[in-house]
Symmetry: C2
Subunit: 196 residues, 2 copies
DNA sequence: TGGATGGCGTACCAGATGGTACGGCTCGAA
DNA sequence: TTCGAGCCGTACCATCTGGTACGCCATCCA
């Protein structure tokens, strides 16, 4: 199997895993069922991913990559800080309330090993983007984002509120993510602006 | 079996369920293992709780009751608003980051039915306390908590940030809950005070 | 064009699971 | 003191699980 074909096959297997998790949950996504869904052999799954946990880990890592590549463009655009923050917040909210992220987080919450992996992947992929942008704002002088980790925590808190937990519990509230991000941004700036 | 004995027995079974969930997780807490741990018969478990989901549901409901009775006193104390809010926030944070709540939330996130139950129990038990207090503040005039649900959402967001998700992922950060609650209260008041 | 690498499908294994059935015994009620 | 409700312990059932083994066949490389 050529390398590009192998990558595509791997992707297809992870897609099948994701779909099955979405439809049947953790319990329903057995290695048997995944293999059948992907029209792959169980032996192939084990050869490629080691074991069930390894398969799920691969899914989490792939998702983290896609999150980063979705979020990165939102934060480089040169525009008014509140617009950049709103754009970033909207993208982050769309991601974290989306079906894929909910599924990934459910997985990670059910298994401590996967939880550690997701937490690390999240800390590495999304937080630095926000941290860099906020510290740039601070350097420009209009905003005093210090201490930086508190500023980040406050922004994320204002942005997400209880929405993410609600989504994980399967009781999603209808939410206009753009309006929510705009509101969070406006409040955060009120807290951190140098001239109130 | 006398009624009081029966209540105690039921409590002991739920305790055993909680302990086993804590030690062995969802997978390890089989009906067999729970029965053995509680020195009860599987048949009794099924007779009293219907099935596995029913057992877990009973655990969730018992926890919700205890949460409410822990939180209610924090909010009736007549004191400065920021002190009441800080006290309430500390208690809520201690609860939601504690081992029991983490366990309960993991359970509810793994099973949609339990998720709906927990979300409803939470909405019924903890939110009204905060809602009533904030609207009293609003009535007194020093604070403009309107719209009320946004004010609540902002307070909870500032209070919890990403802490609850981190705890659920099994990557808890050391946190001084009282200081965190004080910080959240101070920021929230800055956002909602009538005279900035 | 030939041979070998490796994925597919199926079968197999031991163990565990949720749920039910059934003696035997304790303990509360009359 | 007697009797019956009901809990404990164990056994049982069909089913499913993660993980391994093994022919068979397509595809890629030389």
């Amino acid at each position: 199997m050529r390398d590009d074909q192998k990558d595509a096959r791997r992707d297809a297997i992870l897609d099948a895993t994701r779909d099955l998790l979405r439809e049947a949950g953790w319990r329903g996504a057995s290695m048997r069922a995944i293999a059948a869904r992907a029209q792959a052999s169980k032996e192939t799954l084990y050869a490629w991913f080691g074991n069930r946990e390894g398969l799920f880990e691969a899914l989490i890592r792939r998702n983290a990559l896609s999150v980063q590549s979705t979020l990165a463009p939102a934060v480089v655009a040169k525009a008014a800080p509140e617009d950049v923050l709103t754009r970033f917040g909207t993208a982050l909210l769309d991601l974290q309330l989306g079906a894929d992220a909910v599924l990934i987080n459910r997985l990670a919450i059910a298994d401590p090993v996967l939880g550690a992996i997701l937490a690390e992947a999240g800390r590495e992929s999304t937080l630095p983007l926000l941290a860099r942008f906020l510290s740039e704002l601070d350097a420009e002088g209009a905003i005093r984002a210090d201490p930086l980790d508190e500023a980040i925590e406050d922004y994320l808190g204002l942005l997400k509120g209880d929405l993410q937990i609600a989504a994980l519990l399967g009781v999603p509230r209808a939410v206009d993510t753009r309006a929510q991000a705009r509101r969070a941004t406006e409040r955060w700036i009120r807290l951190y602006a140098v001239n109130p």
